[in-house]
């Protein structure tokens, strides 16, 4: 019997009915719908056991202790470590990004050597041979730049460069540079540490305390602790600066003042304190009194800064009547302050009797160095990098034959960037140890990528701003993802190749020795149940429990000590202040550039962390254009309109910007965000906006001779 049409239809119908009694249609629909939920290009989340391990942030200048969440042993995210005095559970947008930075597209994947305009990968062995040869030839004229303000690796670097014959060992300029210079000129010893936790009235002169100044996460935790939600605050914070920045936005009072005027404001307040009978037996008090009384009366200050006499008197009253007043001076963008404003601010602390007192300024001792021949931190901070590079560019200073750049991006992160880049070009052999392809690495002859903090051993020793000595470890939580090495190890290997004795074979040994030294120091303890500021306020310091300090530090705890260097002869340095701070009539300038910096756009050495780009508001960046902020009065005077594209010119450089009308900027000021305008790094940083730091011109501060670039005139068209 052949299969005719009817039979076929019967077969089909029977099959169709039969199929309904099988799982085919139902299972198929179900599975197909699940299939649409699992596209192969949508990544799956990792599976495995979750645990948390401690370390410290090295990318973020606030140096928070971190708790890294891991899944099956792989780091997944970074949160604050509640036991760490510099974090107390808080974490900045930058420190949060440490884990994702491991996979940043800007990472350098292996050692590289310049060939023409590009780089070619080489092996570590080749790199070491090449470097040893070039540095051997450059003996006597090797310079180094470090951007690591807290690491013991500076000891290795400075000792190596010293033994090679140093042409200068420099730190990237920060708040610490101005402070160190100021303390030196005042005849003081130690590093200024600010005890915010015990202070009840804080006058902030310029310093962006809660964003870029020093231990900003800790500063904010201390601030928050005295401000119970919805209740009367137990502290007063007054901000003096050109804009109501992130710090000023939460302060009780914002007093608009130009960034060049912080010294005048400080001395103006001193006038009121002196009038009320403040005195001091520190050297130079009489000269100081004469300087203040001779030119910083209320009317002088008003003429120079526009601050009304009663406002100034009010600040003086707040400080004088507080139990634990504290004055902090800094730059609104974290660099270029100069020494005199710092000294003027510190003079207020001295008048108020706040040196080495709870809630005041502690002069912290430097932790003992372990590498023979290393420079001390104070000595490193004494170098003036912008002045050096400007000298090289102008031919006044001989260009070093070789330059080592560690954790720094001087081609981007210095003022007059164009000048600095030209100076760098004059140095014939340059090595960058950057983890990322930054602007400086792009100029170098050899790039020897450092492993990232989550892949290496490193340390954090008392960051500037911390009110107590503190030491925490950074330890590898992940094997290096790319062919990178810890620079400390590379430098020690290089020393061996050059037959230079640095005592250590690897960097971990250096750190172990450092920690062994801490274990012997008296007064130190591991912060757990008792925090250093509680000890400062009178609580007995717990003993350093016997046992393995290294192990405790590796777990994420911090060694800390409430120490102070007794001051012999710290004075007012009035001769410096008198030369540098003058309350003349404010010069008629159409527009002054007032940059501001934020951790969410990273540091010059990190670029913009990819996950943080979302946190940048569209009043700061839209597409590839950044905004500058000015108030409506300034805009009117300059003939500018909201949203208008303008060109800012200064220091022989032009920068593009759009205008954002923002009324919390002082009249006459143009507020500009830093951290943008990268020409290197990855697509999250590159080409986004302009680098307004390049518009800042460097001047020599009278009295101290230090480079300063706190405020620069800018042309807008």
């Amino acid at each position: 019997m052949g299969l005719d049409r009817r039979a076929f239809l019967g077969l089909v119908a029977g099959g169709a009915v039969g199929t309904m009694f099988t799982p085919i249609p139902w299972k198929f629909i179900d599975d197909a719908s699940i299939w649409t939920q699992n596209w192969s290009w949508i990544p799956r989340v990792p599976k495995g056991q979750i645990d948390y391990v401690g370390t410290s942030s090295k990318l973020c200048p606030a140096c928070e202790g971190l708790k890294i969440m891991r899944v099956a042993g792989n780091p997944v995210s970074a949160g604050g470590n509640p036991d760490h005095p510099l974090s107390r559970g808080g974490v900045s947008a930058l420190a949060r990004s440490e884990v994702y930075m491991l996979y940043s597209p800007a990472r350098i994947k292996s050692p590289m050597k310049r060939s023409g305009k590009t780089f070619a990968p080489i092996t570590w062995e080749q790199a070491l041979i090449e470097m040893a040869e070039k540095l051997g030839a450059a003996k006597g004229s090797v310079a180094a730049i470090s951007g690591d303000g807290t690491g013991t690796v500076n000891e290795v670097l400075s000792a190596l460069v010293g033994k090679l014959g140093s042409a200068g060992c420099f730190m990237m300029p920060t708040e610490a540079t101005s402070a160190a210079k100021g303390i030196k000129l005042m005849g003081g010893q130690g590093q200024a540490g600010y005890d915010f936790e015990n202070a009840d009235a804080v006058l902030v002169l310029g310093a962006d305390l809660f964003e870029t100044w020093g231990t900003s996460t800790r500063n904010r935790k201390a601030f928050g602790a005295t401000r119970p939600a919805g209740a009367k605050p137990a502290s007063t914070y007054i901000y003096v600066g050109p804009t109501r920045n992130n710090t000023a936005s939460v302060c009780d009072q914002w007093i608009p003042a130009g960034a060049a005027d912080f010294g005048i404001v400080a001395l103006g307040i001193a006038w009121h304190l002196l009038k009320a009978g403040a005195t001091s037996n520190a050297p130079g008090f009489d000269t100081f009194k004469a300087v203040v009384n001779g030119g910083f009366g209320p009317e002088d200050v008003k003429r120079a800064t526009g601050i009304a006499p009663d406002v100034l008197a009010g600040i003086a009253k707040t400080l004088a009547s507080a139990k634990a007043p504290l004055v902090v001076t800094g730059s609104p963008f974290g660099q270029g302050l100069g020494a005199a404003p710092f000294i003027a601010g510190m003079s207020l602390n001295m008048l108020l009797g706040r040196i080495n007192k709870p809630g005041g300024v502690y002069m912290l001792p430097e932790l003992a160095a372990v590498v023979p021949g290393a420079m001390s931190r104070a000595a490193l901070l004494d170098g003036d990098l912008p002045a050096f590079l400007k000298g090289v560019e102008a031919g006044k200073t001989p260009a070093p034959k070789a330059l080592l750049v560690y954790d720094a991006n001087p081609a981007y992160g210095l003022p007059e960037s164009a000048t600095m880049a030209k100076a760098l070009e004059k140095i014939p052999f340059k090595v960058s140890f950057s983890s990322f392809m930054d602007e400086t690495a792009a100029l170098c002859d050899l790039v020897l990528p450092n492993s990232l903090p989550l892949e290496r051993y490193d340390d954090v020793a008392t960051p500037y701003g911390s009110g107590f000595c503190i030491y925490s470890l950074v330890r590898p939580i992940q094997k290096p993802i790319h062919d990178t090495k810890t620079t400390g190890d590379v430098l020690l290997a290089l020393a061996r190749k050059l037959s230079i004795e640095l005592k250590f074979d690897n960097f971990q040994q250096v750190l172990k020795e450092k920690v062994a030294g801490l274990a012997k120091a008296s007064g130190g303890f591991v912060a757990k149940d008792v925090m250093p500021w509680q000890v400062a306020a009178g609580k007995p310091a717990p003993a350093l429990v016997g046992g393995d300090l290294w192990k405790a530090l590796e777990t994420g705890f911090a060694w800390t000590m409430v120490g102070q260097v007794a001051q012999t002869g710290m004075g007012f340095a009035s001769e410096v202040v008198a030369k540098a701070v003058k309350a003349g009539k404010a010069p008629a300038v159409a527009a002054t550039l007032a940059p501001y910096s934020q951790l969410r756009t990273g540091t010059p050495a990190t670029g913009i962390p990819c996950q943080d780009l979302t946190t940048v508001p569209d009043t700061e960046l839209v597409g590839d254009t950044t905004f500058v902020r000015l108030n409506s009065e300034t805009a009117k005077a300059l003939g500018l309109k909201k949203g208008q594209t303008v060109k800012l010119s200064a220091a022989g450089v032009d920068c593009q910007a759009k205008v954002h009308i923002f009324e919390s900027v002082m009249t006459g000021m143009v507020s500009a965000p830093l951290g943008f305008g990268h020409t290197a790094f990855d697509y999250f940083s590159q080409g986004k906006g302009a680098n307004y730091l390049s518009l800042m011109t460097v001047a020599e501060e009278p009295g101290s001779g230090m480079s300063m670039w706190i405020a620069s005139e800018v042309k807008i068209a």
Binding site: M1, L3, D4, R6, A7, F8, L9, G10, L11, V12, A13, G14, G15, A16, V17, G18, T19, F21, T22, P23, I24, K27, F28, D31, A32, I34, W35, Q37, N38, R44, V45, K47, G48, Q49, I50, D51, A72
Partner: protein, 189 residues
Amino acid sequence: MEEKRSNSAGGVGGMVLCALIGFVGALVVGWVIFPKLLYSEKTQPIRFSHTVHAQLGIDCEQCHHLGPDGRFAGLPTTESCAECHGEETGETTANGKEIDKFVKDYVKTGVQVPWLVYQYQPDNVFFSHAAHRGFECTKCHLDVAKMDTPPAYYENRLSGYSKNTMKMWECERCHASMGTSNACYVCHK
């Protein structure tokens, strides 16, 4: 025409017969062939014998335990297996060879074994073992403790999940019968 007419007379029965064949055929395809086509059969990378370990008196919890945070640790790592099986045995028995394979391929290389997990839930499911501690493991899991050879793993070619992965309706049915909430976020993330 004549012929066709006569054909049509006998065709009714033929049509019914064909329909019956089609019906039975579809049942065979649907119940026997389709499942075989839908699932690919996979075997575990190492023939791990739960029986041998259970007979040695090792509790299930020794390898499959809750962490101190209450999260289920899941499968043991290569490192924890290596606590006992750190070195090759050199034995020629089937079990001995399998141990040596494990040591050679995973312990020495420090690689985790890509075990095929019969019950893995999709990424958007948050299953808490701690919350279900009152139940016997075998209520949901295969009773592997009695198996010398791990059962075959059937992977759904369409959805990519294991055949043994519990479906949402099964979760919901049990929750409903226990009076536990069936709100989305009780299980989903």
